[in-house]
Structures are given as C-alpha cells and as structure tokens.
Assembly symmetry: none
Homo-oligomer: 213 residues x 4
Amino acid sequence: MDTGRNATAGVAEAQRRGRPRSEKARVAILEAAAELLLARGLSEVSMDAVAERAGVSKATIYRWWPTKETLALDALYSEWAAAAPSPRATGSLRGDLLSLLRPWARLAGSRPYGRVIAALITEAQTDPAFAQVYQSRFVEPRREQARGIFRRAAERGEIPPDTDIEVAIDMVYGPLYHRLLHGHAPLSERFVRAVVDTALGGLTGHGRNVQEN
Amino acid sequence: MDTGRNATAGVAEAQRRGRPRSEKARVAILEAAAELLLARGLSEVSMDAVAERAGVSKATIYRWWPTKETLALDALYSEWAAAAPSPRATGSLRGDLLSLLRPWARLAGSRPYGRVIAALITEAQTDPAFAQVYQSRFVEPRREQARGIFRRAAERGEIPPDTDIEVAIDMVYGPLYHRLLHGHAPLSERFVRAVVDTALGGLTGHGRNVQEN
Amino acid sequence: MDTGRNATAGVAEAQRRGRPRSEKARVAILEAAAELLLARGLSEVSMDAVAERAGVSKATIYRWWPTKETLALDALYSEWAAAAPSPRATGSLRGDLLSLLRPWARLAGSRPYGRVIAALITEAQTDPAFAQVYQSRFVEPRREQARGIFRRAAERGEIPPDTDIEVAIDMVYGPLYHRLLHGHAPLSERFVRAVVDTALGGLTGHGRNVQEN
Amino acid sequence: MDTGRNATAGVAEAQRRGRPRSEKARVAILEAAAELLLARGLSEVSMDAVAERAGVSKATIYRWWPTKETLALDALYSEWAAAAPSPRATGSLRGDLLSLLRPWARLAGSRPYGRVIAALITEAQTDPAFAQVYQSRFVEPRREQARGIFRRAAERGEIPPDTDIEVAIDMVYGPLYHRLLHGHAPLSERFVRAVVDTALGGLTGHGRNVQEN
DNA sequence: CGGTAATCGAGACGGTACGTCATGTCTTACA
DNA sequence: TGTAAGACATGACGTACCGTCTCGATTACCG
C-alpha cells in the first residue's frame, strides 16, 4: 500500500492499460528503505542510496512516493504491520491494555525504530499533508483500538462512565513514546506494566491494582 | 552560553589575546536562529539563511557552534530559559506538579516549539554527542526538579516510599510531550490538570483526587 | 519514406502478414515533429512531446525511426521536398544557378529551418551513420543538380573546361549556408544574385557579369 | 576571460574581499572541457564529466559559466586564441587573404573543431543571448580583420570602390565553413587558394588571377 | 471463420544528466 | 585573533528525457 498515488486498485478491477507496476520493484524499494532507515536514520538515507540498493531507478521511486518521508512511512509500516499481532480481549482493562501495549513496546524496542519515528514526527510538524497521512496510518488505528478497550471497560464498570478516553489514551501511550523518543531509560516489559498499573491505580496507591500477571 | 567550544568559563579569566569575541554577533545569531527556527523548522533553515539574517559570516557561526543542531539548541534554550519561571513549593504534590507543568505547557503551546523540539530529539537519536548535550541541557534539569517534588511527597507520605520516581516522571511528562509532538489534541490547562489528577489517583477512580484547584 | 528500417522497397511486394503500418500515425508523427522542430529546435523537442502531440505512443515512433535525429531529418525532408520546385534549364550558367539557388534561399529563409539544419549538421559530425544518410538525402541531390549545371556550362564554353566543379559548388552554396547558419545578415534575393555574380565574375571586376536579370 | 559573470576586473583594481577565485580551477575546467569537447563533441560531454576530469565541483563550474555552451565557447576560444597568429599585411589583396585564411583553415582542420563549432552554431540558433556572445567573440573579430583587408584593397584600386564588403567576406569564409561543417571534402591548403582565386577572379576566367604563390 | 502475427495505445522501467541547494572548510583583507 | 566576504569540494535533491519493456487491444492475412 503506497502513501503516494492511487494504489488502491480493488481485486476485481479490470486490468489497466499500459505496463503494469512492477511488484518486484515495489518490494525491493520498501525493503531497501527499511534496512537503510533502521541502519542510518532518515536524514542519513538518500533517495540515491535507496535506488541503488533496491536496484531501481530514482524515477521509479518518485513515481510512487512523492517524498522521502512518505517512503519511510510506508517502509516502516510494512515492517510494523507484519510484526504486530492483533491484541485479544482478556476480559479486564488491565489485561487488554497489556496485550495492546506489550507487543508495541517489544517491537519498538527491538530495533532502532525510535529514530525513524522521531524523524516522521518531525516531518509531520512541518508538512500538514504528511501529518495527516501519518496520523491516519500510524496513530489513529492504535488509538481506535485503545478507545474500544476503554469503552468496554466503562461498560463493565471498571472505570467511571464519564472518563475522558482521549486523556486516558495519552496517559498510557504518552509515557511509552516518551521513553522511545528520549531514550533516557529502557522500554522494558516492567515499564509497560508500571505504566498501566499507575494509570489505572494512580501514584497515591489508594486505587492500586494488585493483580500480578 | 555555547554548546560548542570554550564556554568562556569564569569572569576573572585573563583577557585572551587577539580581537575579543563579538557579543553583538553572538546575540544576533541566536535571535536570527530562533526566529527562523520557529517560523520554518530546523530542516528548512539553512546556515546561510541564519548568517544572512544575522548580518554575520557563516564562518563566525561555525567557529562557535559545531553544527546546526547545537545552534538550534542554544537558540531555543535562550528563549525557553528566559520565559520559564522557577516553580515554587506549594506544600502538596498536586500543587507542586501543577506549578511545574503548567508554565511548561503554556510555553510549549505558545509558539511552534514542538517542531523544533521534535527536530532536536530526532537529531539526538542519531548523534550520541548531541544526545548527551540535549539531555543535560533540556531534559535533566526538569527531571531533577520533578525528582525533588516526588521525593518531598514521599517524605510527606503522599505517595508510597517505594514509588519508582523515574516512572512517575514519565507518567506526567510523557502525556504532555505526546500531545506536543503528535498534535492530535491541544496542550490545554485542562489537559495538564487531567494528567496530574489521573497520575495521582488513577483511572479506576478509587484513589481519585477530589481537590478542585 | 523512412530513414530507419524496411523502407518498403517495391510496390509489387506481397503484403506482409500482421497488422499493416498505420499511415495515419506515420503522417501525424512527421507533422508533429516538423511543427515542434521549427518552433523550438531539435534539442528542445523530446520524443515524449512528439508522441503526445501526434497522439501516438513512443514505441511506435521508435519502431520506425531509430533516433530523434533521423526523425527530424525525415520531418524536415517532407516539408522541404514538398516546397522545392525543380529548377529549369535557362540556357546560361547564371540563369541556371539563379533558378537553382533562388528557390532554395527563399525556402530556407521562410521559416526557422536554419535551426534544424544546424542541428542535423551537428549530429552528422558525431554520428557517421547519420552523416551518411544526411549527405545522401539532403546534400548530394542538390550538389548533383549543380554539377549538371556547371558541366553544361563548361560544354557551352562559359567556364574553362578544367574548372574544379566541386570548388565551384562550394563557392555558391558556401556563402548561402554561411548566412543561413550564422545569421549575421539576411538571405535575401539580392544576396543570392551577388553571390552568383561574384562567383562568376570575381571581385576584381575584370570578368564582372553585367547582365541585369 | 569568462562568458558568464563579471570577469573583467582590471589590473589595478583593489583586491576584492573574500576568497579570490581559484585560477587553478579556472584553467583546469577550461582544459578539461576542451579535451572532452574535441574528443566527444558537445552533446556527449556532461558537466559532471568536466567537473570530474578537472577535479572540481559542479557548483564551481556553474558559478562562472551559466550553461554548458558558454563553457564550450570559452574552452574553444582559449585553444583557438592561443594558436591563431595575427595575419600580416602583404601588400596585395590575394596575399592578405591567404595570410588570413590559411592559418584558420590549418587550425580548423587540425583537430575536430568542426564538431564543436557546429554545436555552438546550433545553440546560437535557439538562444539569442548566446548568439550575441558567439558573434562578438568568434565571428566579428575575424570579419573585422577581413573588412580591413578589403578596405585597403579598395584604396589600392584592386577591387572596385563600391564593392559590397560584407558579401565579399561571405564569399571567402562561406566556402571554408561549408567544408568544415559538411565535411564532404577536405579543408586543404589547395582549397583555400582555389577559394581566394575564384573569389577574386571569378569562375569565367576573364579576371583570373594568375599569381602562383 | 478461427488462428497467427505484426501493429498500436499506454505507460512503467533502468539509466543518465540536469541545474540547484546546503554543508562545512578555506582563503583573503580588514579590524 | 576575530570577522565579513565569498569561493570551494562534496553530495543529495527532484526533474526530465532517453530508449526499452510489457501489457491489452486492434487489424490485417491465411489456412
């Protein structure tokens, strides 16, 4: 799936005229981009380098991805989507959150994704069009999952019905992104548990969740 | 204060030989950089542009700042340090946190600082030397303030003595940075209060803090 | 008639199998090329542009013309051959030359052909195969006409029998091409007459031809 | 002397501020360009290739020469100006013309200059600004020399005083350029003599110059 | 009338050069 | 020694064109 042009093309669509897009080239570009991005970071990766490593011409890249950033987004997404499992419903808010956030943290910490994500966020600050794509591809899907989790918890009575769910989401994802981007401490499993427990029970301890998991 | 070379050290230092450094140039550079950074973002600002706007030669900039990023850091720091008031002790954890975070959020939201901070974080991902400077100049001072606040709260018995303070700091700063960088929702005063209250009392509501402020 | 491949050979040839060549496309390509060439010059005309204007695919052009230059040669030739009348025998060398050169000069000056011819000559300098085609299509026919004229003049005794006819041809065509390509002065009718008269009678005036025409 | 910017800079001019232009680079560029041009022709020479061979950056070339063509003009001019001797006055029109044209023909035939000159003429057809520079640098100086020769011949009575000198110049340079560019026959010494003699005496032979030289 | 074969349109592709721009260094003259 | 001016090597940018290619669609013939 491309960030750039009309890459939708339903299955049943009649074959379009002209030479069809080279699937080989598409995959080679995304893989080359992903490897280079993780090895060197967005700003150190040139389109020329991607083209060379993918065995592809620069024009072919620009035909499908308008900017380096959109290519990076797609490249990262390919890796990320392939690796991330869909969380299952555990019956408790704590369990649901852990099953959502643990794979995310494990994935985020497994390779230098933070560097690439930081670069994408930086680009989103300046380019509104890119920001829109970044939001809808990377951010919203995960927030939507979290919204469902919190909504179901409210229905079960685990959290008050007037809870501001947007704030709640920021309370759990915020600290994770914080460590991912600032790198002042590891994105460990322990940290995920601590974040979830603190978000649920609070620091003062009166509502502290005692489950062990 | 420069990120780069001889940071001039003490007042009483003997006058060095040769023409002294031009204070006018130093200020002009920092101001030009700050304005351009906030207007266009780090990646869109060139050293040539800073030099031209400051009425200064490029060589002069490079003599004192080794990279564009260090210059940006200093330029941002000048603005930020001038504006941020030092928080006062209120006697309660909630009060202390609000007096620490509210000015931060107000400042961060007042101009497009997020764009510059995101760029600095991005650079820190790749350049370890810069990361070190960024941490010690921007991150640690504020974490140290927060550590003091939590430590005093533990002494007062407001939070358990075994609280992991590093996690606690991430629980309040994380959500703020999250909104600053992702921009999916405003960094409002209301949000700061919600973050503090949730961090203290938790989402489940059993320990919910009922103070009104 | 194409510069490139199977130049169709004889009329009576048996119809070849497969879809026959589209005459419509052939004409459209030549016309599009001629218009673009005269408007912009060879180097400013791209095959893509010709294809688009002719409503034809690039592959169709390349199937029949190996290079842009050969296409330009054919396009120019179509225009040129259609416009140039065949000179008639006047009975005198001066009359024959004028009847040969005047139409040439009028045509050459009528539209920016100089620009295209210069480009073809340039290409011929580098590509020997093209040079051969250019000579045989554009240069030799006209030189052959001129040879006949001078030969008959020698038979009539108008010029010495040992006259070097190749030099004689260069003496009349050279100055015309000179103005066409350098453009320092107009290719006027007056100039054609002056060239012929000077070539015949010389600058010193002793043999000056006094006919008026 | 450059075609591009303000390369005049009189001798006595006060040293301009900033790093002075690198004479070494200037010469290396012109020499690299000249060698490549003569070896491959203008269209086959890329700026990248010139930069690489000269050991110079592309930006440096573009700083001083706006286009490839202006660079080629300067490169050719350097070679040409260094080689061409100034003709001397012989006392006769024939002698003067031979002393002007023989070195020109020898030089033009010595290396594949025709290919480069053809390309420059081609460019001049399309780019009026370049045409102006080409005329004033390459064409006019030589025409001015020729004008002097014919003017003095008229004063001596060798040619009629009402001779159209512009036509006369085209009569001798035209055939030479014709052979240089069309390449249908060699630019030999014999040819130069034949052109001069025919231009002076005419083909009809009544005014034929009988000097031998 | 169905099969074979060359043509055509569309347009993606690898490759190469373009001319521009930014980085960081260097070389002058002047302060 | 510091500074303004500005030339320099390096290298990436995004665009444009070239000539080739792979499709489906078309249009003749030939069996």
